[in-house]
Symmetry: C2
Subunit: 254 residues, 2 copies
Protein backbone atom coordinates (compact mmCIF):
# COMPACT_ATOMS: atom_id res chain seq x y z
CA UNK A 1 0.00 0.00 0.00
CA UNK A 2 1.12 3.54 -0.79
CA UNK A 3 0.14 6.47 1.43
CA UNK A 4 -0.77 9.60 -0.52
CA UNK A 5 -1.17 13.10 0.90
CA UNK A 6 -3.18 15.69 -1.04
CA UNK A 7 -3.26 19.46 -0.73
CA UNK A 8 -6.81 20.47 -1.62
CA UNK A 9 -8.60 23.78 -2.17
CA UNK A 10 -12.36 24.17 -2.12
CA UNK A 11 -15.01 26.85 -2.34
CA UNK A 12 -17.19 25.97 0.67
CA UNK A 13 -20.29 27.81 -0.59
CA UNK A 14 -22.17 24.77 -1.86
CA UNK A 15 -20.92 22.21 0.68
CA UNK A 16 -22.46 21.16 4.00
CA UNK A 17 -18.94 21.25 5.41
CA UNK A 18 -15.90 19.05 4.96
CA UNK A 19 -16.94 15.93 6.87
CA UNK A 20 -18.99 13.23 5.18
CA UNK A 21 -22.66 13.02 6.23
CA UNK A 22 -25.59 11.15 4.75
CA UNK A 23 -27.79 12.85 2.13
CA UNK A 24 -25.83 16.11 1.89
CA UNK A 25 -22.99 17.31 -0.31
CA UNK A 26 -19.65 17.33 1.54
CA UNK A 27 -16.01 17.74 0.48
CA UNK A 28 -15.00 14.39 1.97
CA UNK A 29 -17.96 12.76 0.24
CA UNK A 30 -16.87 14.12 -3.17
CA UNK A 31 -13.25 13.06 -2.57
CA UNK A 32 -14.24 9.52 -1.56
CA UNK A 33 -16.62 9.26 -4.53
CA UNK A 34 -13.71 10.07 -6.84
CA UNK A 35 -11.36 7.62 -5.07
CA UNK A 36 -13.98 4.85 -5.30
CA UNK A 37 -14.21 5.46 -9.06
CA UNK A 38 -10.42 5.28 -9.41
CA UNK A 39 -10.42 2.07 -7.31
CA UNK A 40 -13.11 0.38 -9.43
CA UNK A 41 -15.84 0.75 -6.81
CA UNK A 42 -13.80 -0.10 -3.71
CA UNK A 43 -14.34 2.37 -0.87
CA UNK A 44 -11.17 4.27 0.08
CA UNK A 45 -11.35 6.39 3.22
CA UNK A 46 -9.70 9.79 3.14
CA UNK A 47 -8.41 11.38 6.37
CA UNK A 48 -8.49 15.16 6.48
CA UNK A 49 -6.42 17.40 8.76
CA UNK A 50 -9.71 18.38 10.41
CA UNK A 51 -13.24 19.48 9.58
CA UNK A 52 -14.41 22.78 8.21
CA UNK A 53 -18.00 23.95 8.71
CA UNK A 54 -20.70 24.57 6.13
CA UNK A 55 -19.72 27.59 4.00
CA UNK A 56 -16.08 27.68 5.19
CA UNK A 57 -13.44 27.63 2.43
CA UNK A 58 -10.02 26.03 2.16
CA UNK A 59 -6.98 27.33 0.31
CA UNK A 60 -4.96 24.34 1.55
CA UNK A 61 -6.76 21.49 3.30
CA UNK A 62 -4.63 18.36 3.73
CA UNK A 63 -5.95 14.80 3.49
CA UNK A 64 -4.36 11.37 3.11
CA UNK A 65 -5.48 7.96 1.84
CA UNK A 66 -3.92 4.58 1.16
CA UNK A 67 -3.98 2.78 -2.18
CA UNK A 68 -2.68 -0.47 -3.63
CA UNK A 69 -2.08 1.36 -6.92
CA UNK A 70 1.32 2.45 -8.07
CA UNK A 71 0.73 5.77 -9.80
CA UNK A 72 3.13 8.70 -9.94
CA UNK A 73 2.09 11.82 -7.99
CA UNK A 74 1.39 13.58 -11.32
CA UNK A 75 -0.88 10.70 -12.33
CA UNK A 76 -2.72 10.81 -8.98
CA UNK A 77 -3.26 14.53 -9.34
CA UNK A 78 -4.56 14.19 -12.89
CA UNK A 79 -6.80 11.21 -12.06
CA UNK A 80 -8.36 12.94 -9.05
CA UNK A 81 -8.85 16.32 -10.75
CA UNK A 82 -10.53 14.67 -13.72
CA UNK A 83 -13.22 13.46 -11.26
CA UNK A 84 -13.54 16.60 -9.12
CA UNK A 85 -16.58 18.91 -9.20
CA UNK A 86 -15.84 22.54 -10.18
CA UNK A 87 -15.58 23.69 -6.54
CA UNK A 88 -12.81 21.29 -5.44
CA UNK A 89 -9.28 21.17 -6.81
CA UNK A 90 -6.33 18.98 -5.87
CA UNK A 91 -3.39 21.39 -5.96
CA UNK A 92 -0.63 18.99 -5.01
CA UNK A 93 -0.02 15.31 -4.28
CA UNK A 94 2.92 13.66 -2.51
CA UNK A 95 3.78 10.18 -1.26
CA UNK A 96 4.25 10.08 2.53
CA UNK A 97 5.71 7.50 4.95
CA UNK A 98 3.42 4.76 6.39
CA UNK A 99 3.51 6.36 9.83
CA UNK A 100 2.23 9.74 8.60
CA UNK A 101 -1.29 10.88 9.55
CA UNK A 102 -2.90 14.04 8.09
CA UNK A 103 -4.72 14.83 11.36
CA UNK A 104 -2.54 13.51 14.19
CA UNK A 105 0.71 14.92 12.76
CA UNK A 106 -0.47 18.53 12.40
CA UNK A 107 1.86 20.93 14.21
CA UNK A 108 0.29 24.21 13.13
CA UNK A 109 -2.79 25.49 11.32
CA UNK A 110 -3.42 28.86 9.78
CA UNK A 111 -6.86 30.40 9.31
CA UNK A 112 -7.75 33.73 7.75
CA UNK A 113 -10.93 35.74 8.22
CA UNK A 114 -11.84 38.54 5.76
CA UNK A 115 -13.90 41.58 6.78
CA UNK A 116 -15.03 43.90 3.98
CA UNK A 117 -15.52 47.34 5.52
CA UNK A 118 -17.56 49.33 2.98
CA UNK A 119 -20.83 51.23 3.25
CA UNK A 120 -22.14 49.80 -0.01
CA UNK A 121 -22.78 46.08 -0.36
CA UNK A 122 -20.74 44.20 -2.98
CA UNK A 123 -22.81 41.32 -4.43
CA UNK A 124 -19.68 39.59 -5.76
CA UNK A 125 -18.28 39.16 -2.26
CA UNK A 126 -21.39 37.73 -0.56
CA UNK A 127 -19.97 34.20 -0.29
CA UNK A 128 -16.35 35.19 0.35
CA UNK A 129 -16.11 37.91 3.01
CA UNK A 130 -18.04 39.35 5.95
CA UNK A 131 -19.44 42.71 4.87
CA UNK A 132 -19.47 45.16 7.77
CA UNK A 133 -20.59 48.71 6.86
CA UNK A 134 -19.67 50.73 9.99
CA UNK A 135 -16.41 52.40 11.01
CA UNK A 136 -13.79 50.22 12.71
CA UNK A 137 -10.79 51.14 14.85
CA UNK A 138 -8.20 48.88 13.24
CA UNK A 139 -5.46 50.00 15.67
CA UNK A 140 -7.51 48.70 18.60
CA UNK A 141 -8.22 45.47 16.68
CA UNK A 142 -4.46 44.91 16.22
CA UNK A 143 -3.96 45.41 19.98
CA UNK A 144 -6.74 42.93 20.77
CA UNK A 145 -4.95 40.41 18.52
CA UNK A 146 -1.77 40.85 20.55
CA UNK A 147 -3.71 40.07 23.74
CA UNK A 148 -5.13 36.89 22.21
CA UNK A 149 -1.71 35.57 21.18
CA UNK A 150 0.10 33.02 23.34
CA UNK A 151 -0.92 30.02 25.44
CA UNK A 152 -4.34 30.35 27.10
CA UNK A 153 -7.40 28.39 28.10
CA UNK A 154 -9.73 29.35 25.22
CA UNK A 155 -13.02 28.24 26.88
CA UNK A 156 -14.43 31.80 26.51
CA UNK A 157 -13.66 31.68 22.79
CA UNK A 158 -15.15 28.32 21.87
CA UNK A 159 -18.67 27.12 21.27
CA UNK A 160 -20.43 26.23 24.54
CA UNK A 161 -22.27 23.52 22.58
CA UNK A 162 -19.08 21.57 21.86
CA UNK A 163 -18.73 19.24 24.85
CA UNK A 164 -15.14 18.29 24.14
CA UNK A 165 -13.30 16.44 26.82
CA UNK A 166 -9.79 17.39 27.74
CA UNK A 167 -7.92 20.61 27.81
CA UNK A 168 -9.07 23.80 26.15
CA UNK A 169 -5.55 25.20 26.37
CA UNK A 170 -4.15 26.14 22.98
CA UNK A 171 -1.25 28.25 21.75
CA UNK A 172 -1.77 30.95 19.14
CA UNK A 173 1.48 32.00 17.45
CA UNK A 174 -0.11 34.84 15.52
CA UNK A 175 -3.33 36.86 15.75
CA UNK A 176 -2.75 39.76 13.38
CA UNK A 177 -4.92 42.25 11.60
CA UNK A 178 -4.04 43.79 8.21
CA UNK A 179 -5.90 46.59 6.49
CA UNK A 180 -5.67 46.98 2.71
CA UNK A 181 -8.18 49.54 1.47
CA UNK A 182 -11.63 48.29 2.43
CA UNK A 183 -10.35 44.81 3.33
CA UNK A 184 -9.40 43.81 6.86
CA UNK A 185 -7.66 40.42 6.99
CA UNK A 186 -7.30 38.55 10.27
CA UNK A 187 -4.51 35.95 10.31
CA UNK A 188 -4.53 33.29 13.03
CA UNK A 189 -1.83 30.63 13.41
CA UNK A 190 -1.86 28.14 16.26
CA UNK A 191 -1.16 24.60 17.38
CA UNK A 192 -4.87 23.83 17.50
CA UNK A 193 -8.31 25.44 17.36
CA UNK A 194 -11.47 24.64 19.32
CA UNK A 195 -14.91 24.50 17.71
CA UNK A 196 -15.90 27.93 16.29
CA UNK A 197 -12.81 29.45 17.91
CA UNK A 198 -11.67 31.51 14.90
CA UNK A 199 -15.14 32.90 14.24
CA UNK A 200 -15.66 33.80 17.93
CA UNK A 201 -12.23 35.46 18.11
CA UNK A 202 -13.06 37.37 14.91
CA UNK A 203 -16.38 38.46 16.49
CA UNK A 204 -14.56 39.63 19.62
CA UNK A 205 -11.94 41.56 17.64
CA UNK A 206 -14.84 43.17 15.76
CA UNK A 207 -16.41 44.25 19.08
CA UNK A 208 -13.10 45.91 19.93
CA UNK A 209 -13.05 47.54 16.46
CA UNK A 210 -16.51 48.98 17.19
CA UNK A 211 -15.27 50.20 20.61
CA UNK A 212 -17.85 48.09 22.45
CA UNK A 213 -14.94 46.46 24.24
CA UNK A 214 -11.30 47.48 24.76
CA UNK A 215 -8.17 45.47 23.94
CA UNK A 216 -7.54 45.47 27.70
CA UNK A 217 -10.75 43.47 28.31
CA UNK A 218 -9.36 40.33 26.63
CA UNK A 219 -7.50 39.22 29.80
CA UNK A 220 -10.73 39.47 31.79
CA UNK A 221 -12.55 37.37 29.16
CA UNK A 222 -9.90 34.63 29.40
CA UNK A 223 -10.24 34.59 33.22
CA UNK A 224 -14.04 34.29 33.21
CA UNK A 225 -14.18 31.16 30.99
CA UNK A 226 -17.64 32.26 29.84
CA UNK A 227 -18.60 32.07 26.16
CA UNK A 228 -21.39 34.63 26.76
CA UNK A 229 -18.85 37.38 27.37
CA UNK A 230 -17.04 37.08 24.02
CA UNK A 231 -18.25 38.54 20.71
CA UNK A 232 -20.66 36.89 18.27
CA UNK A 233 -19.69 33.87 16.17
CA UNK A 234 -19.15 35.65 12.84
CA UNK A 235 -20.56 34.01 9.68
CA UNK A 236 -18.67 31.14 8.00
CA UNK A 237 -18.26 32.39 4.42
CA UNK A 238 -15.41 34.77 5.34
CA UNK A 239 -13.32 32.00 6.94
CA UNK A 240 -10.54 30.17 5.07
CA UNK A 241 -8.43 27.24 6.22
CA UNK A 242 -5.27 28.78 4.79
CA UNK A 243 -2.53 26.28 5.56
CA UNK A 244 -1.71 23.15 7.57
CA UNK A 245 1.84 22.45 8.69
CA UNK A 246 3.55 19.23 9.62
CA UNK A 247 6.95 18.63 11.28
CA UNK A 248 8.51 19.09 7.85
CA UNK A 249 7.10 20.56 4.64
CA UNK A 250 5.72 17.43 2.97
CA UNK A 251 5.45 19.16 -0.42
CA UNK A 252 8.88 20.75 -0.56
CA UNK A 253 10.27 18.57 -3.33
CA UNK A 254 7.02 17.62 -4.98
CA UNK B 1 -46.39 59.19 -11.68
CA UNK B 2 -42.70 59.44 -10.92
CA UNK B 3 -40.09 57.79 -13.15
CA UNK B 4 -37.27 56.16 -11.20
CA UNK B 5 -33.97 54.93 -12.65
CA UNK B 6 -31.93 52.35 -10.70
CA UNK B 7 -28.29 51.37 -11.03
CA UNK B 8 -28.16 47.69 -10.14
CA UNK B 9 -25.37 45.16 -9.60
CA UNK B 10 -25.90 41.40 -9.62
CA UNK B 11 -23.93 38.20 -9.41
CA UNK B 12 -25.33 36.27 -12.39
CA UNK B 13 -24.28 32.82 -11.13
CA UNK B 14 -27.66 31.73 -9.85
CA UNK B 15 -29.86 33.57 -12.39
CA UNK B 16 -31.28 32.32 -15.69
CA UNK B 17 -30.34 35.71 -17.10
CA UNK B 18 -31.76 39.21 -16.67
CA UNK B 19 -35.03 38.93 -18.58
CA UNK B 20 -38.14 37.59 -16.87
CA UNK B 21 -39.24 34.08 -17.91
CA UNK B 22 -41.76 31.69 -16.40
CA UNK B 23 -40.63 29.17 -13.76
CA UNK B 24 -36.96 30.27 -13.54
CA UNK B 25 -35.11 32.75 -11.36
CA UNK B 26 -34.31 35.98 -13.23
CA UNK B 27 -33.02 39.41 -12.18
CA UNK B 28 -36.04 41.19 -13.67
CA UNK B 29 -38.32 38.70 -11.90
CA UNK B 30 -36.74 39.44 -8.52
CA UNK B 31 -36.91 43.21 -9.12
CA UNK B 32 -40.57 43.11 -10.13
CA UNK B 33 -41.39 40.86 -7.15
CA UNK B 34 -39.89 43.51 -4.84
CA UNK B 35 -41.71 46.36 -6.61
CA UNK B 36 -45.02 44.48 -6.35
CA UNK B 37 -44.46 44.13 -2.59
CA UNK B 38 -43.74 47.85 -2.26
CA UNK B 39 -46.85 48.62 -4.35
CA UNK B 40 -49.15 46.41 -2.21
CA UNK B 41 -49.44 43.68 -4.82
CA UNK B 42 -49.80 45.84 -7.92
CA UNK B 43 -47.54 44.72 -10.79
CA UNK B 44 -44.94 47.34 -11.75
CA UNK B 45 -42.96 46.64 -14.90
CA UNK B 46 -39.25 47.45 -14.84
CA UNK B 47 -37.42 48.30 -18.08
CA UNK B 48 -33.76 47.31 -18.20
CA UNK B 49 -31.10 48.79 -20.51
CA UNK B 50 -30.94 45.36 -22.14
CA UNK B 51 -30.71 41.66 -21.32
CA UNK B 52 -27.79 39.75 -19.95
CA UNK B 53 -27.51 35.97 -20.43
CA UNK B 54 -27.54 33.20 -17.83
CA UNK B 55 -24.37 33.44 -15.73
CA UNK B 56 -23.42 36.94 -16.93
CA UNK B 57 -22.82 39.51 -14.17
CA UNK B 58 -23.55 43.23 -13.92
CA UNK B 59 -21.56 45.88 -12.09
CA UNK B 60 -23.98 48.54 -13.32
CA UNK B 61 -27.17 47.49 -15.06
CA UNK B 62 -29.71 50.30 -15.48
CA UNK B 63 -33.48 49.89 -15.22
CA UNK B 64 -36.43 52.26 -14.83
CA UNK B 65 -39.99 51.97 -13.56
CA UNK B 66 -42.91 54.32 -12.85
CA UNK B 67 -44.65 54.68 -9.53
CA UNK B 68 -47.50 56.73 -8.06
CA UNK B 69 -45.56 56.89 -4.76
CA UNK B 70 -43.68 59.92 -3.64
CA UNK B 71 -40.59 58.55 -1.92
CA UNK B 72 -37.17 60.20 -1.81
CA UNK B 73 -34.41 58.43 -3.76
CA UNK B 74 -32.83 57.33 -0.44
CA UNK B 75 -36.18 55.81 0.60
CA UNK B 76 -36.54 54.01 -2.75
CA UNK B 77 -33.04 52.58 -2.41
CA UNK B 78 -33.65 51.41 1.17
CA UNK B 79 -37.10 49.95 0.35
CA UNK B 80 -35.80 48.01 -2.66
CA UNK B 81 -32.64 46.72 -0.99
CA UNK B 82 -34.63 45.50 2.00
CA UNK B 83 -36.46 43.17 -0.44
CA UNK B 84 -33.49 42.11 -2.59
CA UNK B 85 -31.99 38.61 -2.52
CA UNK B 86 -28.28 38.46 -1.54
CA UNK B 87 -27.11 38.42 -5.18
CA UNK B 88 -28.79 41.67 -6.30
CA UNK B 89 -28.06 45.13 -4.93
CA UNK B 90 -29.48 48.52 -5.89
CA UNK B 91 -26.44 50.79 -5.82
CA UNK B 92 -28.10 54.05 -6.75
CA UNK B 93 -31.54 55.53 -7.47
CA UNK B 94 -32.43 58.76 -9.25
CA UNK B 95 -35.61 60.44 -10.49
CA UNK B 96 -35.63 60.91 -14.27
CA UNK B 97 -37.78 62.94 -16.68
CA UNK B 98 -40.99 61.38 -18.08
CA UNK B 99 -39.43 61.06 -21.54
CA UNK B 100 -36.45 59.01 -20.34
CA UNK B 101 -36.19 55.32 -21.28
CA UNK B 102 -33.50 53.00 -19.84
CA UNK B 103 -33.18 51.05 -23.11
CA UNK B 104 -33.97 53.49 -25.93
CA UNK B 105 -31.82 56.29 -24.53
CA UNK B 106 -28.59 54.28 -24.17
CA UNK B 107 -25.70 55.99 -25.99
CA UNK B 108 -22.88 53.67 -24.91
CA UNK B 109 -22.39 50.37 -23.11
CA UNK B 110 -19.25 48.95 -21.56
CA UNK B 111 -18.59 45.24 -21.09
CA UNK B 112 -15.55 43.58 -19.54
CA UNK B 113 -14.36 40.01 -20.00
CA UNK B 114 -11.85 38.45 -17.56
CA UNK B 115 -9.42 35.72 -18.58
CA UNK B 116 -7.40 34.06 -15.78
CA UNK B 117 -4.21 32.77 -17.34
CA UNK B 118 -2.75 30.31 -14.80
CA UNK B 119 -1.67 26.68 -15.06
CA UNK B 120 -3.36 25.77 -11.78
CA UNK B 121 -7.13 26.04 -11.43
CA UNK B 122 -8.44 28.49 -8.80
CA UNK B 123 -11.73 27.18 -7.33
CA UNK B 124 -12.65 30.64 -6.01
CA UNK B 125 -12.75 32.08 -9.52
CA UNK B 126 -14.89 29.40 -11.19
CA UNK B 127 -17.99 31.61 -11.45
CA UNK B 128 -16.18 34.90 -12.11
CA UNK B 129 -13.47 34.47 -14.79
CA UNK B 130 -12.56 32.24 -17.74
CA UNK B 131 -9.63 30.07 -16.67
CA UNK B 132 -7.27 29.46 -19.58
CA UNK B 133 -4.10 27.52 -18.68
CA UNK B 134 -1.93 27.92 -21.82
CA UNK B 135 0.45 30.68 -22.86
CA UNK B 136 -1.03 33.75 -24.57
CA UNK B 137 0.56 36.45 -26.71
CA UNK B 138 -1.00 39.51 -25.10
CA UNK B 139 0.73 41.89 -27.54
CA UNK B 140 -1.04 40.21 -30.47
CA UNK B 141 -4.33 40.30 -28.51
CA UNK B 142 -3.97 44.07 -28.07
CA UNK B 143 -3.37 44.44 -31.84
CA UNK B 144 -6.47 42.35 -32.60
CA UNK B 145 -8.46 44.68 -30.34
CA UNK B 146 -7.28 47.67 -32.38
CA UNK B 147 -8.52 45.96 -35.58
CA UNK B 148 -11.95 45.36 -34.02
CA UNK B 149 -12.40 48.99 -33.00
CA UNK B 150 -14.43 51.36 -35.15
CA UNK B 151 -17.60 51.09 -37.21
CA UNK B 152 -18.13 47.70 -38.88
CA UNK B 153 -20.78 45.18 -39.84
CA UNK B 154 -20.38 42.69 -36.97
CA UNK B 155 -22.26 39.77 -38.61
CA UNK B 156 -19.16 37.55 -38.26
CA UNK B 157 -19.05 38.34 -34.54
CA UNK B 158 -22.66 37.69 -33.60
CA UNK B 159 -24.68 34.56 -32.98
CA UNK B 160 -26.00 33.07 -36.25
CA UNK B 161 -29.06 31.95 -34.26
CA UNK B 162 -30.18 35.51 -33.54
CA UNK B 163 -32.40 36.41 -36.50
CA UNK B 164 -32.44 40.13 -35.82
CA UNK B 165 -33.81 42.37 -38.47
CA UNK B 166 -32.03 45.51 -39.39
CA UNK B 167 -28.45 46.55 -39.51
CA UNK B 168 -25.61 44.68 -37.87
CA UNK B 169 -23.41 47.74 -38.12
CA UNK B 170 -22.15 48.87 -34.73
CA UNK B 171 -19.38 51.20 -33.54
CA UNK B 172 -16.87 50.05 -30.92
CA UNK B 173 -15.08 52.95 -29.26
CA UNK B 174 -12.68 50.74 -27.34
CA UNK B 175 -11.51 47.11 -27.55
CA UNK B 176 -8.53 46.98 -25.22
CA UNK B 177 -6.63 44.28 -23.44
CA UNK B 178 -4.90 44.76 -20.05
CA UNK B 179 -2.62 42.28 -18.35
CA UNK B 180 -2.16 42.44 -14.58
CA UNK B 181 -0.28 39.37 -13.34
CA UNK B 182 -2.34 36.31 -14.28
CA UNK B 183 -5.39 38.40 -15.17
CA UNK B 184 -6.17 39.57 -18.68
CA UNK B 185 -9.03 42.05 -18.81
CA UNK B 186 -10.78 42.86 -22.07
CA UNK B 187 -12.63 46.18 -22.11
CA UNK B 188 -15.23 46.82 -24.82
CA UNK B 189 -17.17 50.05 -25.19
CA UNK B 190 -19.60 50.64 -28.02
CA UNK B 191 -22.88 52.18 -29.16
CA UNK B 192 -24.52 48.75 -29.25
CA UNK B 193 -23.79 45.02 -29.10
CA UNK B 194 -25.34 42.14 -31.05
CA UNK B 195 -26.30 38.83 -29.44
CA UNK B 196 -23.19 37.06 -28.03
CA UNK B 197 -20.97 39.69 -29.66
CA UNK B 198 -18.68 40.31 -26.68
CA UNK B 199 -18.17 36.59 -26.01
CA UNK B 200 -17.44 35.87 -29.71
CA UNK B 201 -15.01 38.82 -29.90
CA UNK B 202 -13.33 37.54 -26.69
CA UNK B 203 -13.08 34.07 -28.27
CA UNK B 204 -11.55 35.54 -31.42
CA UNK B 205 -9.02 37.63 -29.46
CA UNK B 206 -8.15 34.42 -27.57
CA UNK B 207 -7.50 32.64 -30.89
CA UNK B 208 -5.10 35.45 -31.76
CA UNK B 209 -3.47 35.10 -28.32
CA UNK B 210 -2.90 31.39 -29.04
CA UNK B 211 -1.45 32.31 -32.46
CA UNK B 212 -4.14 30.31 -34.27
CA UNK B 213 -5.02 33.52 -36.06
CA UNK B 214 -3.17 36.81 -36.61
CA UNK B 215 -4.37 40.34 -35.79
CA UNK B 216 -4.23 40.94 -39.56
CA UNK B 217 -6.96 38.32 -40.14
CA UNK B 218 -9.64 40.41 -38.45
CA UNK B 219 -10.28 42.49 -41.60
CA UNK B 220 -10.86 39.29 -43.59
CA UNK B 221 -13.31 38.03 -40.93
CA UNK B 222 -15.33 41.26 -41.17
CA UNK B 223 -15.48 40.95 -44.98
CA UNK B 224 -16.67 37.35 -44.96
CA UNK B 225 -19.74 37.95 -42.74
CA UNK B 226 -19.49 34.32 -41.58
CA UNK B 227 -19.89 33.43 -37.89
CA UNK B 228 -18.07 30.12 -38.50
CA UNK B 229 -14.79 31.92 -39.14
CA UNK B 230 -14.63 33.74 -35.78
CA UNK B 231 -13.49 32.21 -32.48
CA UNK B 232 -15.66 30.28 -30.04
CA UNK B 233 -18.32 31.94 -27.92
CA UNK B 234 -16.44 32.06 -24.60
CA UNK B 235 -18.37 31.07 -21.44
CA UNK B 236 -20.69 33.61 -19.75
CA UNK B 237 -19.35 33.69 -16.17
CA UNK B 238 -16.37 35.90 -17.12
CA UNK B 239 -18.57 38.59 -18.69
CA UNK B 240 -19.68 41.72 -16.84
CA UNK B 241 -22.00 44.47 -17.98
CA UNK B 242 -19.76 47.17 -16.56
CA UNK B 243 -21.54 50.44 -17.34
CA UNK B 244 -24.37 51.98 -19.34
CA UNK B 245 -24.22 55.59 -20.46
CA UNK B 246 -26.93 58.04 -21.39
CA UNK B 247 -26.70 61.47 -23.04
CA UNK B 248 -25.88 62.89 -19.62
CA UNK B 249 -24.77 61.16 -16.42
CA UNK B 250 -28.13 60.56 -14.75
CA UNK B 251 -26.51 59.88 -11.37
CA UNK B 252 -24.13 62.84 -11.24
CA UNK B 253 -25.90 64.72 -8.47
CA UNK B 254 -27.61 61.78 -6.79
Amino acid sequence: MTKILCKISYDGTRFSGYQIQPRVRTVQGELEKALAKIHKGTHVEIHGSGRTDKGVHAKAQMAHFESPYNLTTAEWKRAMNSLMPPDIHVNDVVEVPDAFHARFDVVEKEYRYFIWNEREKDVFKQNYVYQFPFALDVGAMKQAGEQLKGTHDFTTFSSAKAAIRGSKVRTLYEVSCHQDGSQIELILRGNGFLYNMVRIIAGTILEVGRSKMGPGDIGYLFDKKDRQLAGDTLPPQALYLWNVQYEKDMFRNS
